[in-house]
Symmetry: C2
Subunit: 347 residues, 2 copies
């Protein structure tokens, strides 16, 4: 999370705006908290240019809960939905959907070890699918959609947990967008759901009330006590993003940050990025060292320089640099500087 946001949260933690109370202690039905939640929604709408056709929900359970809640809420009378498989997260979404329907995997890059996004022309769509689901950014493999798929009239559903708010977005093209908060929004435990109004009211009878999109839309996300501190922190982050110049400015910075690392990866044989150029993620840069025996010294020396969390996911190995919005350019420069210097000594 941005340091400015954390600092403000710290300063207000015991006394929110002179109320003498922590925001965590306020009733979620109090005027004060309702105004905090309303401002968070309004700032998010401004950031993403969300029209009135789309409703904004602040729920709980994380994106993985949505792997189940999307089919519960959207299948209606249909029995199948389309899924694009581009990595571990979209694969998990497919697995979970099997509890509720027959997910059709319309395209998969599993055979290429998830190092690319399958071209749209290869997708075998079902025109009668309840929706098409994809994952805009895969944190483990480091692949990202830099385009929005056109799937005709089938509602487009996207798990944007790891790249939402990293760039401008045309929300009007989506039926449902969902995101766990912990990358670019706020603390873990908050889940953002943006849902097109005409998709409400299809929830299966087995959908828990607090996870029924329509019921929560009607209750302004307060059918039950919401993750109020998370909504407050998300609101501070939205204001921070607006103060940075909005998503166009953020995207410019994110492009610059990612380019610094990818340029280094491409100019040397010492490091290698396995991901196809057009599909490389700006948020998570996966790379390997030519000599895997150097992995351990690399991680150890990096840590000694204050560069932590560089180890790749256990399922793929190698390294991973995560450059979410809150990562400053200076942090990326420090990483690239270290990598160049490490190569000089070990290359």
């Amino acid at each position: 999370m941005p340091e400015d946001v954390l600092a403000q949260a710290r300063d207000e933690l015991l006394d929110w705006h002179g109320s003498g109370m922590s925001i965590m202690e306020m009733s979620h039905r109090s005027k004060q908290f309702v105004s905090v939640a309303a401002a968070a929604e309004s700032d998010l709408r401004e950031l993403l240019g969300i029209a009135a056709t789309h409703k904004v929900l602040f729920l709980q359970g994380g994106a993985q809960a949505q792997f189940a809640l999307v089919p519960m809420n959207l299948l209606g009378a249909k029995k199948s939905a389309d899924y694009v498989e581009t990595g571990q997260w979209s694969k998990k979404a497919v697995q979970e959907a099997k509890r509720y329907c027959t997910p059709n995997v319309v395209a998969s890059s599993a055979n290429e070890r998830y190092t690319r996004i399958p071209g749209r022309e290869t997708w075998r769509l079902d025109p009668d699918a309840a929706y098409l689901h994809y994952t805009s950014n895969e944190t483990i493999g480091g692949v990202e959609f830099h385009w929005i798929p056109d799937v005709g009239s089938v509602p487009l559903v996207c798990d944007m947990s790891s790249d939402i708010l990293s760039r401008p977005l045309d929300v009007s093209k989506f039926g449902v967008i969902y995101a766990g908060a912990q990358k670019n929004i706020g603390p873990a435990g908050l889940t953002l759901v943006i849902v097109r109004e005409d998709l409400l009211g299809r929830a299966a009878a087995i959908t828990p009330s607090v996870f029924d999109y329509k019921a929560q839309v009607e209750a302004d996300s307060m059918l039950n006590t919401p993750a109020s501190f998370g909504i407050y922190l998300a609101g501070l982050t939205f204001k921070w993003l607006l103060a940075q110049g909005g998503l166009a400015a953020i995207e410019k910075r994110n492009i610059e940050k990612a380019a610094l690392v990818y340029e280094l990866l491409d100019e040397t044989e010492f490091y290698r990025c396995p991901v196809r150029r057009d599909d490389r993620s700006r948020m998570n840069i996966a790379f390997t060292l030519r000599d895997a025996k150097l992995d351990e010294p690399f991680l150890k020396e990096a840590k000694a320089q204050g560069l932590s969390e560089l180890k790749g996911h256990r399922s793929v190995g190698g390294m991973r640099a995560s450059l979410y919005n809150a990562m400053p350019l200076a942090g990326v420069k420090a990483l690239v500087g270290f990598m160049r210097e490490f190569e000089k000594r070990h290359g």
Copy 2:
């Protein structure tokens, strides 16, 4: 939440234990966070004397999500479960259970406007029920169980959202205890579930993986990213409770706090508590003013003295004083002092 806990959270918010990071920014799989979560569980086990037979889960979604997740996880092959209805919360639990089974309301105090707990001898139990569900404290009506029902071999399930950790508890008598965190545990968005080991593995196929008790037990509550800041704050609260002398000491203080208010309510005709004496809640004291025209001046003058959140729930009206663990004795004395003084001026 206790002021000491909030102050510690504030001091550590940008730099947890010299890590240079906020606890909110740490990977939930990092050594540091895993140790925070383990300490929270261990301190909770010490506070409640939880044996190895019972597993502790830190989930998301709040208690209302459990209204659905309890039947999903516990029904197994059975088609019905027993419910005791003592107020708005247990009534909601019954409503939600209807999505998954036939809930038998074995006792209800609806006809007495939820002003008492139906005596155990009146309950018409189904010996073949999947479980018996009750709500140990009803925040709106202000009734509380001061005894643990004996229901033979049927697993006992209790929603303890609003009185858990307010007194010692014999956890061994329960199949499942669940609680939203926002009363005596921590911030909204965290849900505690304590489940007896032999009840694991009965989840219906429609149960979302992240809400499957067994799957989460096997993953130490980290099948998905948990509400990590909530777990951290809950851990601080558990340490605070231990430092206060544990739950026996807390109960003594809670008895004292509640007695101060109930004594006043019983010695005057100006105020009235509708709840049967044996079933009065220590956490939420519901009362009315003899003259409802004084409600508004009462609330206004109370607020001017810094006594807020005294308005009764819209469904019952009147007043409600909530005396959760974090409410200091001095706060209760201030309330009682105000009430006596208000009566003198208006009585």
